[in-house]
Amino acid sequence: MGCYRLHLYWSDPEIGRCNLKSIVSTSIAILSGLVVLVGYFVQIPILVELRSLFLDWAVILAAFMVFIGVLNISIVNISHFTSGKKDGFFGLMLIISMFVTLALGLILKPGHPIMNFIFNSIQLPVELSLMAVLSITFLIAAIHLLRRKPGWVSITFLVTALLILVGTAPSPFGEFPLLGGFLKPFIAQVLAASGARGIILGVGLAALTMGLRILFGADRPYGGK
C-alpha cells in the first residue's frame, strides 16, 4: 500500500519511479483517514480511541498552523519592507501591530480588557466598515449587471432579489400583502430551497468523491507524487 501505480499497475514500467517519500505520505494519509472513517460506521473501542486521538492531534496541529500563518505573514511583510517595495511602510505597520497584539495576548490572555479594547477599537469597526462599503459595491454591481450580461438569467436573478428585498421589510408607503404574504415565502421557501437542496446534494456528492480519491491515493494534495 502506498504508491497508487504500484498496486493497480504492478506491471507498469513506471514502478521504479515510485518515490519512497510519496509512499510514506500516501500511507499516512490513507491509514489515518481509514481509522477516522471506519469510526463513523463501526463502533470498535480501539478504533474509537484511536479516532479520538487522531482528531485531537488534528486540533493541536491546526493551532500550530495558525502560528505558521503568522510566521508567513511576518516573513513576507518583512521582506517587502527591507526590499523597499511600494507598500513596505504599511507592511511594517502590519508587523508592528501583529507582534504587539500577539505579545499582549500571550501575556494578558485574550479575554483581558486590553485585548477587548484592541478588538473593539480596531478589528470590529474595520470589519463592520468593510461590510458597509460592500453594500455600496454590491448595489453598483446590481446596476451594471444587465449592461454587462444582459439575459434572462440576469433578469431572473435581479427580479428574485428585488422580490425578496421587497418582502423583507415593508416600504414606507406600506406593505404589499401579496408580496410579503405569499410571494416572498414561496420564492424563498420553495423555489430557492429546492435549488439549494440540489446544490447541497451536489456539494455533498463532490465532497464524497474527493474524499474517496484522497483515501485511495489518487489525489495527493499534500505534496506526494
Partner: protein, 224 residues
Amino acid sequence: MALNPTMEFASAVISFLFTIMILSYLVGDNPLFRLGIYVFIGVSAGYAASVAFQDILWPKLFVPLITGNSSRSLFLWIPLFMGVLLVFKLFPRVSRLGNPVMAFLVGIGAAVVIGGAVLGTIIPQTISTINLFDLSAGGSAVEKIFESVVFMIGTISTLVYFQYTARKTPQGAKRGRFVELLSLLGKIFIAITFGVVFAGVLTAALTALVDRVMFIWTFLLSLI
C-alpha cells in the same frame, strides 16, 4: 470587565477613526484606507495566534507535557514533533519534511468530510426529498403536492444542470434533449436561489452600513 470611561472614549475615538479610514474607500483608494487595512490584518493575525496559543497549545499540549499528569501526555510528543515539522513548510528547501504531517491532516479531513457528507447531507436530504410527498405531515394536500412537485423538480433539475456527461456527435459533444430541458430548468432554479442569496447579502451589508452610520452619528453627538 467593563472599561472605564476614558478607555471607552478612547475606544470610541479609535473606532471612529478606523471607521472613517475604511469608509473613505467610497471616495477612492487612498493611503488611509491602506493603513487601516494593514493594521487590521496585523491585529487580527496577532489576536488569532494569541488565542490559538492560550486556548489550545498551552493547555492541551505544553501543560500536559510539562506536568506529565495526563495519561495521554506520552502521546503528545507526537503532535509536538509533527507541529515542528509543519514549521518547515515555510521554507521551500525543507518543505518536504512537512509532507507527512500534511498527509495526516488531509487524510483525517477527507475521512471527516466523507462521513459528514454521507451521514449529514446526502442521506438526510434524499430522504427529505422523498418525504415531501408525505401528506400525513399536515397542511393542505393540494398545496403540499404542488410544493412537493415544485421542490422535486427544482432539486432534480439543479442536479441535472451539473451533469456534464454528453454524447459525441458530429456537431460536437451534446447532451440529450431531455437532459438539456432539465438543465435549463435547473438553471432557472439556480438563478432564483442565488437571487435570494444576493438579497440576503444586501440586507446584511445594509445592516452593517446602518450600524456604522449610527455609530458615527452617535459619536459626533457625544462630542457635541
